[in-house]
């Protein structure tokens, strides 16, 4: 079963680039796929540019409206995602618990719709 793991964190909560903590965190991200072999399979995953780069769009009565910024104004921003294949929720949660963002933000685990 596929699960989408979305990572949320406040920008000031995570280690800043250039610090040893940041390098250690990135090391953890890069090693995650390998570390979680046997628990869940990594299918895809990306980190996102900061929320200041986001554009939100909607179309109403044929007209496109664009807005500078994210869809929801929250303190914790969507910062990245994983798509994994796991046997059940317990395995997906075990994967989620190893994502560094779980320590300074939150990870939402959602099953992917099956058609």
């Amino acid at each position: 079963m596929k699960y989408m793991l979305t990572l949320y964190a406040a920008p000031d909560a995570e280690p800043s680039p250039g610090t040893p903590e940041f390098d250690a965190m990135m090391g953890e991200y890069f090693g995650l796929e390998e570390k979680m072999k046997g628990v869940a399979t990594f299918l895809a995953g990306e980190g996102l540019q900061p929320v200041q780069t986001a554009t939100t769009l909607r179309k109403r009565e044929g007209r496109v409206e664009t807005m500078d910024g994210p869809f929801a104004e929250t303190r914790e921003h969507l910062g990245g995602f994983y798509l994994i294949e796991a046997a059940d929720l317990d395995a997906a949660l075990r994967f989620a618990a190893e994502i560094p963002a779980a320590r300074y933000g939150s990870v939402e685990v959602r099953p992917v719709m099956e058609y």
Binding site: L93, V109, P111
Partner: protein
């Protein structure tokens, strides 16, 4: 007569039947629907042909057939070929519920999964393992029956959609998951303790039933032994907790001839057994505290304070910090107790025991002027007449 027999079988064996059906269908809702349909046809068949020799066996077989029918009715039939084959084989083998493996441990771990909301865990456990009807579960929470029905449906839908597994967790996850199960059992108990028996349901009895069931299904687990010990030690004092004048009484002031000696002894023996396994946990600490409150003579407050301090490492909640402060005060460490309770004000402002404790500490250091408004606040927040009456007496005793 038939209805009464069926009702009894469904109440006693619902958990076992449901667990067996979920194990075979892998689907909580299908299993429940199949069991419901089997019960409905039991009413008709038993009425005609008499109650079968093994009513539970009859129900299991009928429910397996209903589950197969359910799959056949499903428009995505092709997906379910394997499931149908397994069920048909089981049904043909004329399963005897007494000899098939008891899957209730898996069921309770599923019902108490931390991915479900706490209230839903309690509701699902009462419905699935204690055999309460949806109406009874609703009554426990003072909810309308349709509201509770929706809550139960949402929980089952999440179990299916997010694939919450029907399994006993592995060694790595077991301590946390077992704690989640035992917490549900304990919450059921405390709800019953606060409400007393209602509409024919005694939640204290249901909680003790669940704890005994867990002990039977997962023997050698010190936290399970300790959880049952905690319930028994508390239950042993239940008849004495309200004095003749309607006031709540702390254990030290209770009439000990009203204590249930058998429950007390069983609780203490279970706790000893748990501690001898040398794998400490929060329920062992809670049961040890309850045991110290039941000891002959005045309680060993310094020891109770030490146990609360350790419990706070497991569960750093303001309520445990408050209990720790009370134990410190009783041990004579009033200054430390007051300082600790002061720091909890922001989190516990709406919690009656916080104001009662603070009032008591202030009264002890002779600050009646500050104690008085705290007692008044506690009285305003008191949930029962017994507590109110106790606090009123303390307030009147202020100089």
């Amino acid at each position: 007569m038939i209805e009464a027999t069926l009702g009894r079988v469904m109440q006693d064996d619902r958990g076992r039947l449901l667990a067996a059906l979920i194990a075979r269908t892998g689907d909580f809702q299908r299993a429940e629907d199949a069991l419901q349909e089997a019960a409905a046809s039991a009413l008709v068949h038993w009425g005609r042909a008499g109650v079968p020799a093994s009513p539970t066996g009859w129900l299991l077989r009928a429910a397996l057939r209903k589950a197969i029918d359910g799959y056949r009715r499903d428009t995505t039939l092709s997906r379910h070929r394997d499931a149908i084959a397994v069920l048909a084989e089981e049904e043909a083998a004329d399963p005897d519920p007494q000899t098939i493996p008891d899957d209730r441990l898996r069921l309770i771990f599923t019902c108490c999964h931390p991915a479900l909301e706490e209230k839903s865990r309690i509701a699902l456990t009462l419905r699935s393992l204690c055999g309460l009807t949806t109406a009874q579960v609703a009554a426990v929470f003072l909810d309308a029956e349709p509201t509770m029905g929706q809550r139960l449906s949402r929980a089952k839908a999440k179990i299916a959609a997010a694939r919450i597994p029907f399994t006993v967790p592995g060694a790595e996850d077991l301590p946390d998951r077992l704690n989640s199960v035992l917490t549900v059992v304990y919450l059921i108990y405390t709800a019953g303790y606060a409400q007393g028996p209602q509409i024919g349901i005694d939640l204290c009895t249901e909680a003790i039933f669940l704890a005994r069931l867990l002990l039977q299904l997962a023997p050698d687990q010190p936290e399970v032994e300790a959880a049952l010990a905690l319930l028994l030690l508390t239950q042993a004092r239940a008849a004495a907790r309200i004095g003749p004048d309607g006031q709540s009484l702390p254990p030290i002031r209770q009439d000990r001839s009203l204590w249930n000696r058998a429950a007390l002894d069983e609780g203490l023996a279970l706790l000893d057994r748990a501690i001898s396994r040398r794998a400490p946990g929060p329920f062992q600490l809670k049961a040890a505290i309850a045991a110290l409150h039941s000891a002959d003579g005045p309680p060993d407050w310094p020891q109770i304070a030490a146990l609360y301090a350790r419990l706070h490492d497991y569960e750093p909640t303001p309520v445990i910090a408050l209990n720790h402060a009370v134990a410190l005060a009783e041990s004579g460490q009033l200054a430390q107790a007051l300082a600790q309770v002061q720091a909890l004000g922001a989190q516990l402002d709406g919690y009656q025991p916080f104001h009662a404790a603070r009032a008591d500490f202030l009264a002890r250091i002779g600050d009646s002027a500050s104690a008085r408004p705290e007692y008044l606040r506690a009285i305003a927040l008191a949930g029962s007449e017994a507590d109110r009456s106790f606090l009123q007496a303390r307030l009147s005793a202020l100089k």
